[in-house]
């Protein structure tokens, strides 16, 4: 798999480290809300299809990137600097009203 870093250009995926699903919201560090921490640590959308995720170009410019990758085909449809992320994030399962 090749990831096209916005700064470095196309690079082998071995230069990158996967940092998980995008859109996780870390609870306040002082929080003792077990359910919120459990959701943050364990709950994943686990999408089959277009998946929003964070990678770090650890073997290159070291920037954090936001990808949209199709988990069925590995096709990457979008790469941007995570700090410039402008694409609206999907709602998390935990945030979906019951």
């Amino acid at each position: 798999m090749i990831i096209t870093c916005p700064y470095c250009g196309p690079r082998d995926s071995s230069e990158f480290v996967y940092q998980g699903e995008d859109g996780r919201t870390r609870p306040d560090p002082a929080s003792t809300d077990q359910a919120a921490w459990n959701a943050y640590v364990y709950d994943r959308v686990n999408t089959a299809g277009e998946h929003e995720e964070i990678w770090q170009h650890s073997g290159g410019c070291r920037a954090h990137l936001r990808l949209v990758r199709n988990t069925l085909t590995h096709k990457i449809s979008s790469v941007s600097m995570a700090r410039h992320a402008t694409v609206p994030r999907r709602r998390r399962k935990a945030e979906t009203p019951a």
Binding site: P6, Y7, C8, R11, G59, A63
Partner: protein
């Protein structure tokens, strides 16, 4: 200043290896100053202007843009981050006066990096054995730089001439990388200078 000691000293033996034309020349260029400068978001142009005033090098804007002269070099290797090298000492002492904490940071790497120069008609070929990078002239013009990795050895590479590349590696990995580079160069014959 504290004398710089080369980690390559025990293994760098000038001379020719192989018969016939030499495909590459390997050498250590040992700049007196190696400095990393970084700009906070939005301060990139201001930092590029300071680098120009301090070194005389006009850094082109844009990813991986750089410039190299016989004695000095500068290139971008990450967003807002640039590596500067000068054969003279003193860059790390001079820059913090201009690069204020509101603008960015200055990190002295003069004793932290070893710079290996590979030049010659087969330099691209030898580098292609290490890095999955397009080293052709149109993809990496003279002066341009990049960051990559060979297994666990991080490398920042600048093309300092049409057939010439300067590879910045952590000094603790330099001897290992130098030996690998020599092995990879055997196929094309090499000269150590």
């Amino acid at each position: 200043m504290v004398d710089q000691l080369s980690p390559l000293a025990p293994v760098l033996t000038p001379g020719r290896q192989g018969q016939g034309p030499m495909g590459v020349v390997l050498a250590e260029i040992a700049p007196g100053s190696i400095v990393q400068v970084a700009a906070w978001a939005g301060q990139e142009s201001a930092l590029i202007a300071i680098v120009r005033d301090a070194t005389g090098l006009a850094l082109p804007d844009g990813a991986g843009g750089g410039i190299a002269t016989d004695t000095k070099a500068a290139f971008g290797f990450a967003p807002g981050k640039f590596l500067l090298a000068d054969q003279e000492e003193g860059l790390a002492a001079a820059l913090p006066k201009a690069v204020t904490s509101a603008l960015g940071t200055v990190t002295d790497l003069s004793h932290g990096r070893t710079v290996i120069r590979i030049s010659g008609t087969r330099a691209e070929w030898v580098l292609a054995k290490f890095f999955a990078i397009d080293f052709s002239l149109p993809a990496l013009p003279v002066g341009a730089g990049l960051s990559t990795v060979h297994h666990d050895i991080f490398a920042q590479i600048q093309r300092s001439g049409a057939d010439q590349f300067d590879i910045y590696v952590f000094r603790s990995f330099a001897r290992s990388f130098w030996k690998s580079l020599c092995h990879a160069s055997e196929e094309v014959n090499y000269e150590v200078r």
